[in-house]
Amino acid sequence: MASRPTVNVRSTAGEATSSLPLPAVLTAPIRLDVVQQVHKSIAKNKRQAYAVNVKAGHQTSAESWGTGRAVARIPRVGGSGTHRSGQAAFGNMCRGGRMFAPTKTWRKWHVKVNQNQRRFAVVSALAASALPSLVLARGHRIEQIEEVPLVVSSAVESFAKTKEAVALLKSLNAYPDVLKVSNSRKLRAGKGKLRNRRHRQRRGPLVVYNEDKGIVKAFRNLPGVELVNVRRLNLLQLAPGGHLGRFVIWTEGAFGLLDEVFGTFEKAAVYKKDYLLPTAKISNPDVTRLINSSEIQAVVRPAGPKTQKRPWTQKKNPLTNKAVLFRLNPYAKAFRKQQLEKKAEKPKKVKTAGEAFLKTLFAP
């Protein structure tokens, strides 16, 4: 990357004022497989344990009646005077019995992920957020936005009123994404409704800032909008559901700090010790350009005709059709000729009648 392309920084009114060079993170390799695997593991870290009661199903003193009583040999509750006496107990198949393999709280709920893998995933997710096709594919309504990545001047960080925040989003043409979220708010299906997860809605833009001078309070009441400091970027927010391409709105300070937070391909990061950005396995992923490059075109054989002509319309069997046989095997013609000549050479044995026969024939 000889010269970095520049990204326009927009003022709070929406027009481009200054520009910043594109940080190296946004050109890092995009590895969907790494992101999906790391996201799957990291998403498990916020789980709360669940288990059945340890005593469940065992709070009886049931004993098997043994054989000879015309009943199955399952342990049965002793005593009398209640419906429960004589009922089966303890088994996973019994009513009121313990379940098969009672769930335990010491199940491994959290998954440890290597630090470098976690960073690789975040870097990939950031690079994906800089491609408009991926952000559109994820479902964000950014058709009217000027460019991606969207950078706003640092004056945003001192916003105090949500009204200012809405005005900013509208001037950037980013408000349709917020509208999408508020229009998608619905009651959740299922028991989650009663478990403090009553509604579900889409995700809106992610606002990344450098210093919180009021911006969090200004934006936090907008539905779907999330805020995060650039030093603490979270994969669960950059690639929700393991899907790349979250719509990110950067402040100028945060955008400029990215080169220090993640480093470049040659220079180590300041905020991550000895960390260099991962390099791609293929430096040029454009197959069309590779094919048309001079190195490959120099060794490629000339192209065939655009539409292949049929060599024949009717296949003829060389074993029966002499013309086809001679076309396929030129020697066969000479060989056949040889055979015919040999046959012609052999003198025809004329069978003349014998002496005794003629005598008998012409006998008087």
Partner: protein, 139 residues
């Protein structure tokens, strides 16, 4: 990032895929996809040069990505041609074909014309037919 790489990232999941027909064709609801089929050739997201045909109330709008646009630009990268709604199919197709004729995605020419003509046909007023006289028992 190259179009091939973007297609590999988008082909398995994106919010525009429609798979309503079981064991049937996979459709795509992207605006830039002319036959609405989910494939690399017709993808309106992965390719650098895309053509989108939409029907705003008053015109048929053909929007295409500009040649020299930066890969990061979204709105300024598109140029639009508007075809007035009442101009018939012959004129609409002529305007649409000009894009392919000057070499912009010539491989999309048949689907581009098909879509434009479908939109133009929908603008035509339906023929007035004579009222059907009831026959037989209903008379």
């Amino acid at each position: 990032m190259s179009a091939d790489l973007q297609w590999l990232l988008l082909r398995n999941y994106n919010s525009f895929i429609v798979k309503k027909v079981p064991e049937g064709p996979i459709f795509s609801r992207e605006p830039g996809n002319l036959p609405s089929l989910h494939s690399y050739k017709y993808s309106g997201l992965a390719n650098q040069k895309t053509v989108a045909v939409t029907d705003t109330g008053s015109n048929i709008q053909i929007s295409y990505t500009k040649k020299g646009a930066s890969p990061h630009a979204v709105k300024p990268a598109r140029a639009t041609i508007n075809i007035r709604s009442r101009s018939g199919p012959r004129r609409s197709l002529g305007v649409a074909a000009k894009l392919s004729k000057r070499g912009y995605r010539p491989d999309l020419r048949p689907v581009l014309l098909a879509r434009v003509s479908a939109l133009a046909a929908s603008k035509k007023e339906p023929k007035s037919r004579p009222v059907k006289k009831p026959r037989g028992k209903k008379a």
